[in-house]
Amino acid sequence: MTDWLLDGLLVFALLATAASALLSRDLFRAVVVFIAFGLLMAVAWVRLQAPDIALAEAAIGAGLTGVLLLDAVSHLGNKRQTALRQTRGSHRQGSDQS
């Protein structure tokens, strides 16, 4: 009984986090939800009697992917801001010239 409850809850949580990571508009929120998804995935591997894969998932999901994606988000944010500034600047220049 509790086994079924645990597995059902886990499946629901995985689907919910996966869907919200895909559908989120805010990139940062998507990344955080993806980290949470990875950690829940580790618990799912545990339930599937695969502790070694759970170990790898916990290490990669929490450590590597988290840091890499956060780094990427901050770079994207900076890029986007400078790009915005540049397009605005070029617009202004263009309007000045015309």
């Binding site: 949580a13 949470a36 545990v46 916990a58 956060l70 988000v73």
Partner: protein, 89 residues
């Protein structure tokens, strides 16, 4: 006793899920990063209880890795996204 451990695991997963709603709604990015700390405590407790329930000693290693590496994501957040060092100077 296994039933008890399983029930505790279900309860911990439930609190984790409810807390994820806060992470989803959290107005600032710091609120969102609390997710990592949350998994560092609740996730560790969940894995340790499951290790006892499923008689799988390897799960304790998973819990240890989770506790160690949950800080890593937060350090990444603090240094890359917020950039405390650059603003402090």
């Amino acid at each position: 006793m296994t039933l008890m451990f399983n029930a505790v695991a279900v309860f911990l997963l439930l609190t984790l899920l409810v807390a994820l709603v806060r992470i989803w709604r959290g107005p600032t990015s710091s609120d969102r990063m609390l997710a990592s700390q949350l998994f560092g405590t609740t996730g560790v407790a969940l894995l340790l209880v499951l290790a006892e329930a499923q008689v799988a000693p390897a799960l304790r290693d998973v819990a240890l890795v989770l506790a160690l590496l949950s800080v890593l994501a937060i350090v990444g957040f603090v240094t890359r996204v917020i950039q405390i060092d650059r603003r402090a100077s």
